[in-house]
C-alpha cells in the first residue's frame, strides 16, 4: 500500500472498563454432523460447537454478556450512553435488539440504541463507534456487543461450525480502563465471499472467494498496517486473536503475520465452541482478558464477509487485577457443557426447513 496509513485514534484515551461473554450450554460434536451427512468420513474443522437452548436468542445472550460486563465495570447502567448490538441473527427483521437489551440492563431511556450489521465484524464495528463516542468526550460509557446464533443449511460445510455466543464491552475513559484501546484500523473492500439475501434462512458462499482473497487478505492487510503504523512487531504482543471460522484459518493467518502458537492459543476458542460469527474474535479477546496482566499488549483483528477487517491494539493496565472473578469467566462458560445428538440439535434449532 502506497498511501500513509491513518489510524483511528481517539482525542482522549479510551479503553475497556468492563467485559463479559456468553456461551450457551449445549454442545454438538462435529463428529455427530459428520455421522449424519458423510457417514463419518472426512476431516473435522472443529471438535464441537455451542448450540443455544430453545428459549435463547441474540437478545437473551446479549443481556447476559452485558450484565457480566457491568459486574466487571462496577458502574451504574444509567451512565451508559449507547447500547449497540452487532449481529447477523437479530431476532426481529424490524425492531431493534438493542432497545430490549438496554431496557433489561437498566440503561434506558437516555441512551443511543441501534443494531449493527457487517457479517462477522458487526461487533468490532460497534466497538470502534463506541471508541469515537467516548474518545470525543460526548459520552462517558458506551456498550458494544457482538453476538450471534449462526445458521448453516443442513448438510452444508458451515453446519459444522455455525455456533452461538459472543461478548460485550463497556468502553469508557482511559483512566478507568482495564485495557486501553490504543488505536483501531479497518481494511474494507467489496468482496462477494458470503451473503444472505432478505427472507432467506441460510447464507450462501462464493466458493472462489472464500479464504485467500477474503479472510487472509483482509486480516493480514489490517494487522500488518496496524503494526507498521504503531511501529510494533509480533514479539511486542503477549496475545493475538483473529476471527475464527475454523481451527486452521486463525492459526495460519497468525503465522502469516509472524505470531507463534503461544500467542494465539489463549484466544483460540473455535475448537471448543465453534464459529460465533460476530462474537468470534471478541469472545477470544474476553478469554485473553480473563488471563492477561499489567503491561500485556494484545492485537485483535476481526473479519466480516463482504468484506472487511478491524484491527485493534490494546494494552492491559493495572485495573485488570481482580476483574475476571467478578463475573463468570469465558472458560467457565466453555466448561459448562451438555452434549447433544443431531436429533436434539434439530429440535432445538427448529431445523425442519432445508431452504
Amino acid at each position: 500500500m502506497s498511501e500513509k496509513i491513518t489510524l483511528l485514534k481517539p482525542e482522549n484515551p479510551v479503553g475497556i472498563v468492563g467485559y463479559g461473554s456468553y456461551v450457551p450450554r449445549y454442545r454438538l460434536p462435529a463428529s455427530e454432523i459428520s455421522r449424519i451427512w458423510t457417514d463419518g468420513m472426512g476431516g473435522l474443522p472443529i471438535e464441537e460447537k455451542s448450540v443455544a437452548g430453545p428459549d435463547e436468542d441474540v437478545t437473551t445472550m446479549s443481556i447476559e454478556a452485558a450484565r457480566n460486563s457491568l459486574k466487571r465495570a462496577g458502574i451504574s447502567p444509567q451512565d451508559i450512553r449507547a447500547v449497540w448490538v452487532g449481529s447477523e441473527s437479530h431476532p426481529y427483521a424490524v425492531k431493534p435488539t438493542s432497545t430490549i437489551v438496554a431496557e433489561a440492563i437498566g440503561a434506558v431511556p437516555s441512551t443511543q440504541a441501534a443494531d449493527w450489521e457487517f457479517a462477522c465484524k458487526a461487533g468490532t464495528e460497534a466497538m470502534v463507534a463506541a471508541m469515537g463516542l467516548v474518545g470525543s468526550g460526548m459520552a462517558r460509557y458506551a456498550l458494544a456487543i457482538g453476538m450471534d446464533i449462526a445458521q448453516g443449511r443442513p448438510g452444508d460445510p458451515l453446519e459444522y461450525t455455525a455456533a452461538a455466543g459472543g461478548a460485550a464491552f463497556l468502553i469508557g475513559p482511559g483512566e478507568e480502563a482495564l485495557a486501553i484501546i490504543e488505536a483501531s484500523y479497518s481494511f474494507v473492500t467489496d468482496t462477494p465471499d458470503f451473503w444472505r439475501r432478505a427472507y432467506q434462512k441460510y447464507p450462501e458462499h462464493g466458493h472462489r472467494f472464500t479464504g485467500e482473497p477474503s479472510y487472509f487478505k483482509h486480516i493480514t492487510e489490517a494487522g500488518q498496517a496496524m503494526m507498521d503504523a504503531t511501529d510494533t512487531k509480533p514479539e511486542d504482543y503477549a496475545y493475538c486473536v483473529f476471527h475464527q471460522p475454523n481451527t486452521k484459518f486463525p492459526q495460519r493467518v497468525g503465522k502469516m503475520l509472524g505470531f507463534n502458537a503461544e500467542q494465539i492459543k489463549t484466544g483460540l476458542l473455535v475448537p471448543k465452541i465453534g464459529n460465533t460469527y460476530s462474537g468470534s474474535a471478541i469472545i477470544g479477546l474476553t478469554a485473553i482478558l480473563d488471563e492477561a496482566k499489567l503491561g500485556d499488549n494484545i492485537l485483535m483483528v476481526s473479519y466480516g464477509s463482504g468484506a472487511g477487517s478491524d484491527a485493534m491494539v490494546l494494552s492491559v493496565t493495572d485495573n485488570i487485577s481482580g476483574k475476571s472473578e467478578k463475573a463468570t469467566t469465558t472458560q467457565q462458560y466453555i466448561e459448562r457443557r451438555t452434549e447433544i445428538d443431531y436429533a436434539t440439535y434439530a429440535r432445538l434449532r427448529g431445523k425442519l426447513v432445508k431452504k
Binding site: 450450554r25 437452548g53 430453545p54 428459549d55 443481556i63 426481529y92 433489561a104 440492563i105 462458560y333
Partner: protein, 133 residues
C-alpha cells in the same frame, strides 16, 4: 396477545425490578406499591440480585398454547435472597435433578416459543442452577 400488558410489565419481567419499602426496608416483588409487611406505601424501585433458592417445584407436562413446544418443563417457587417468593420457569436444567433448597439465579429468556413467526417475542425472567464463579 395483550401487547400493552407485556409492555407495562417489561421492567419487572426483564430485570426482576420490584420495590423497597422506605418504612421497614422490606423488598417487594412483584411490585404492588404497598408493603405487605407494614402496609405502608412502597413505591421506590429496587433491582433484585436474582439469586435465590428453590422453595417448591413441579413439572408441567400439559402446557397452554404458546408454552407447549418445550414440555415438559419445570415451574418453581423461588425464594429470592432478599425475601420475596416468585414463581418462574426453571431453565438449563438438563440432567440436573431439581431439589428444594437448590441455589438458582435469574436469567432473561424467551418466555414463549410461539409457533406463529409473526407475533411479538415475549422475554422475561427464568431461573437456572447457579453457575460456578
Amino acid at each position: 396477545m395483550d401487547i400493552p400488558r407485556h409492555w407495562r410489565l417489561r421492567k419487572q419481567r426483564y430485570g426482576l425490578v420490584g420495590e423497597v419499602c422506605e418504612h421497614c426496608d422490606s423488598k417487594v416483588f412483584p411490585p404492588r406499591d404497598i408493603c405487605p409487611d407494614c402496609g405502608e406505601e412502597a413505591k421506590t424501585l429496587f433491582s433484585f440480585s436474582g439469586k435465590g433458592e428453590v422453595y417448591s417445584h413441579s413439572t408441567v407436562y400439559d402446557a397452554p398454547k404458546g408454552f407447549d413446544e418445550s414440555t415438559p418443563y419445570t415451574i418453581a417457587m423461588v425464594k429470592l435472597e432478599e425475601g420475596p417468593l416468585v414463581t418462574a420457569q426453571l431453565t438449563d436444567l438438563q440432567e440436573k435433578e431439581v431439589k428444594i433448597g437448590m441455589p438458582v439465579e435469574m436469567v432473561t429468556r424467551k418466555l414463549r416459543e410461539a409457533g406463529d413467526e409473526r407475533s411479538m417475542i415475549v422475554y422475561g425472567y427464568k431461573f437456572r442452577p447457579v453457575m460456578s464463579h
